[in-house]
Symmetry: C2
Subunit: 408 residues, 2 copies
C-alpha cells in the first residue's frame, strides 16, 4: 500500500449547527472507502473525548443509519467548550499516537482551527506522521477566508422564516416587534432576516448589527420614522450591538445587571436586550404594543429547518477534507470559495493559521449608509445560502368594496 | 331561488395562526360556488373593519392566488384585539344590513364566538334574516366542546421541533435549558413539547403547566433529580404558571416588575420568566450552564412550519361552516370532534353559548401525578395533530472503542 496507513479520528467542537452531522458523515463515509483507513473513530465531546479516550468505532455504523444521523441537527458526537492549550494538546496527541491515529479531522470554529494547528505542530516537531485538517462550521458565518460557513445557511433560513412570521404578525395586529438574533461580533445572521421581505412595506424595516455603533437616539428616530410611515415596525437586532465606545448596549441599558459566580455578567441567552429596547421604545415614543422575541438556541439547531444547499456543502466539505488528507497528504483548513456569485462553490485548502483565531465581520458593502439596514449586495450574497423552497408569503389582492354605509 | 340570497362576510379576529387563512379560503371558495351568494366580502382587521366598512371583494380574488394566501401564515384579512360590546355590535350589524350581508363567518377564539352570539341575537331581535357562524382558531387549544382547535397542531409542531433542537443542543453541551411556551391558562401547547422525546433520556424531562400549582421547592428538587440522572435537564414551562394561591410565578419571582401606562404589569412577550427560573436554578443548585429561551411570537406563525393535518382541518371547517349556514340555514359554532382516536375527525355545529367566553384546560388524565409532566394518553392525543413528516432525531449507535491509552 502506498501512502500513510492508520486510523482516522473525527470530532466536533463548539456550538452545534443544523448540518454539522453532514460533515461528520462526509468524513466517515469517504474515509471508510479508502484502503489506507484501518478504522474510523469518533471522539465524544470533541477534544475532551480525545484526552479521555472516549471513542466510538464509526467503522461499525451502518451507512443507512449514518445518513439518518447526517440529517439530524446538532453534534452527534457531542461537543465541548474546552479550549485546549499546548499541554492539553500534548495529552490529546499522546492518545492519538497510542491508537495509531494518522488522520485527524476537527469540525469546528476558529478555536477548533487553532487546536488543529497546535496538534499539527506537535506532530511535526516530534516526527510523528499525522495529517490534521480543520473543517469549518459556525452559524455566525465569521470564519476567515471562507465565503460562508456550513451551518450559517440553515440558521439564516430559520431567522428568515422567523421574521416572515413576525412580519405577518405585525401586519395583522400592528405595533412594534423586535427580534434579537445571535451574533456578538458578526452581523451576518441578523442581516439574513431581510430575506423575509417580499412586499415593499414588509419587515424587518430596521436591522442593527455589531459592525456599526448603535445610538439610542438614532434608533428611536428610525423607529418613529418607520412607525409613522407604516403604522408598525419590525426590527432585527444582533445581541452584540455596541455603542461608539464599544460598550455592549445591554450593559449600557442595564448597568446593574448581576454578575454570576465567576464575576461575568450574563449577557447572552437572555431576553433582556430585546426587553430593554422594547422599554426604550415604549417610553421614548409612547407606542403601546411593543414586543421583543429573542431567538436564542432555537436558531442554531431547530429540527426540520435546514438549507438543502447548506447540508450539501457541509457534506462535501467533509468528503473534500478526506481527499486533501488521504490523497494529497496535506494539512490545513478546508474552505468554501464562491467563484460564481449566483451560484457555484469550490473548495480549497488553506494554512491553519489563516483561519485559526481570526474573526470575519460583515464587509462594508453589505451594510447601508444609515447603519440601520443592509444592501442589495448582501441580499444577493445571502439568498442562495438559505437553500431552495424558502416559504413565501402571499397577500390578498382583492379590490376594496366602495363604502356606502359609514359615509351615508 | 330557494333559500336566503345575499352577500357573505368573513373576518378574522385575535392572534394569528399558521393556518387561519386555510379557513378563510375554505369559506370563500365554498361560498363562491353557492348560487345564493351575491358576493363574498372580507372585513379588514376583524370586527373593526366591519364598523369602519373596510371590505375587500373576495369574489374578485383568483382561485390560484387564494390558494397561495391559504398556505401563508397569519391573518390575510388582518386582525384586531377589539372586544365588541352590545353597542359596537349594533354598529357592525347596521353596516351589515346596509350591505345586504346575509351570512357572517367570524374566525376566532372564544371572544369572537361571543361577538357572533351578540350579533346573532341582535339580528333575531330585529327580524333581520342573518346566518352567523363562529369558526374556531387558536394556538392555545382552549376552546370548549372542540377536541382540538385549528392552529394548535401547527403551533404544537413548532414547539415539538424547537424542543428537539433544545434537547439535541443540551445533549451536545449539557447544562440546563428552559423553553418558555405560550399559554396563560391552558397547558396544551407547552405539553406538546414532549413530542420531541424519542430516546429514553430525551428532553423535555420536566413540563410545568398552568393547570397545576407551581412550587419553587418542588421545581428545584425535580431539576436536581434529572440533572443527577442525566447530567443535563431540558424543561418546558408555560408562561402562565401560578402558585397554589393563583399568583403568577413571574410576579412572585419579580414582585417589583414595572407597571405600564395602564397600570398593568407587562408579563407576556418577555423573556423574564425563563430568565428568573434560570437564575433560581443557578443559585439553588449551583449549576453553571443554565439558559432559557422564550418562544414568543415565533411559535404562532413561523413561516414554513405547518401541520398538514391542521391545515386540512382548518380548510374543512371553513367549508363546513358554509354548508351549515347556506344549506342548513343554521347559526352556531362549528366544532371538531374526534370519534376515532388515532385518527379521524368529524365536524358538528353547536350553540354559540357553548363556546363563547369559555376556556378549556388540560383534562386531569393528560397530566402526571407529580405535576411535572404529561401522560401517555396526552401523547396519543397530540401526536396526530402535529401532522405527518415530523422530523426525527437519530443518534449514533456505533460501539465504544476499548480504552488502551489512559488506563495504560
Amino acid at each position: 500500500m502506498i501512502g500513510l496507513e492508520g486510523k482516522v479520528l473525527v470530532a466536533q467542537g463548539g456550538g452545534p449547527t443544523a448540518v454539522i452531522n453532514q460533515t461528520l458523515a462526509g468524513v466517515t463515509l469517504e474515509a471508510r472507502k479508502n484502503p489506507l483507513t484501518k478504522a474510523v473513530y469518533g471522539a465524544l465531546h470533541g477534544v475532551r473525548g480525545i484526552v479521555e479516550e472516549e471513542f466510538l468505532d464509526l467503522t461499525r455504523e451502518t451507512t443507512h443509519h449514518l445518513e439518518q444521523v447526517a440529517a439530524t441537527a446538532s453534534s452527534a458526537l457531542l461537543s465541548t467548550r474546552d479550549k485546549p492549550d499546548a499541554e492539553y494538546c500534548a495529552r490529546m496527541f499522546q492518545v492519538m499516537r497510542r491508537h495509531d491515529i494518522r488522520y485527524f479531522f476537527y469540525i469546528g470554529g476558529n478555536d477548533s482551527a487553532d487546536t488543529v494547528r497546535i496538534i499539527d505542530e506537535q506532530a511535526k516537531s516530534t516526527g510523528y506522521d499525522l495529517r490534521a485538517i480543520h473543517i469549518p462550521k459556525t452559524i455566525d458565518n465569521d470564519l476567515a477566508v471562507n465565503d460562508h460557513c456550513p451551518g450559517f445557511g440553515s440558521a439564516a433560513r430559520f431567522v428568515a422564516q422567523a421574521f416572515m412570521g413576525l412580519n405577518l404578525d405585525s401586519r395583522a395586529l400592528s405595533g412594534v416587534l423586535i427580534g434579537t438574533v445571535m451574533g456578538r461580533h458578526s452581523g451576518f445572521l441578523t442581516a439574513s432576516s431581510i430575506l423575509a421581505k417580499k412586499y415593499a412595506d414588509d419587515g424587518p424595516h430596521l436591522v442593527y448589527l455589531p459592525e456599526r455603533p448603535f445610538s439610542q437616539e438614532a434608533f428611536l428616530a428610525d423607529v418613529e420614522h418607520v412607525y409613522r410611515q407604516h403604522g408598525r415596525c419590525v426590527i432585527a437586532v444582533a445581541e452584540g450591538i455596541k455603542d461608539a465606545q464599544g460598550t455592549p448596549i445591554l450593559l449600557q441599558l442595564s448597568p446593574n445587571r448581576e454578575r454570576d459566580a465567576h464575576g461575568n455578567r450574563q449577557l447572552s441567552g437572555t431576553g433582556l436586550l430585546g426587553d430593554l429596547l422594547a422599554e426604550t421604545i415604549r417610553k421614548g415614543l409612547k407606542i403601546r404594543r411593543v414586543r421583543a422575541d429573542t431567538f436564542g438556541y432555537l436558531q442554531r439547531c431547530f429540527a426540520g429547518v435546514i438549507s438543502d444547499r447548506d447540508a450539501q456543502e457541509a457534506r462535501e466539505l467533509g468528503e473534500t477534507a478526506v481527499h486533501y488528507a488521504m490523497r494529497d497528504h496535506l494539512d490545513g483548513s478546508v474552505v468554501i470559495r464562491r467563484p460564481v456569485m449566483d451560484y457555484g462553490v469550490c473548495y480549497d485548502l488553506v494554512r491553519l493559521d489563516e483561519v485559526a483565531g481570526r474573526t470575519r465581520t460583515m464587509p462594508d458593502e453589505f451594510i447601508n449608509e444609515e447603519a440601520n439596514g443592509v444592501t442589495a449586495l448582501f441580499r444577493s450574497y445571502c439568498r442562495p445560502l438559505v437553500g431552495t423552497q424558502l416559504p413565501e408569503a402571499h397577500r390578498l389582492r382583492a379590490p376594496r368594496v366602495p363604502k356606502i354605509a359609514v359615509s351615508a
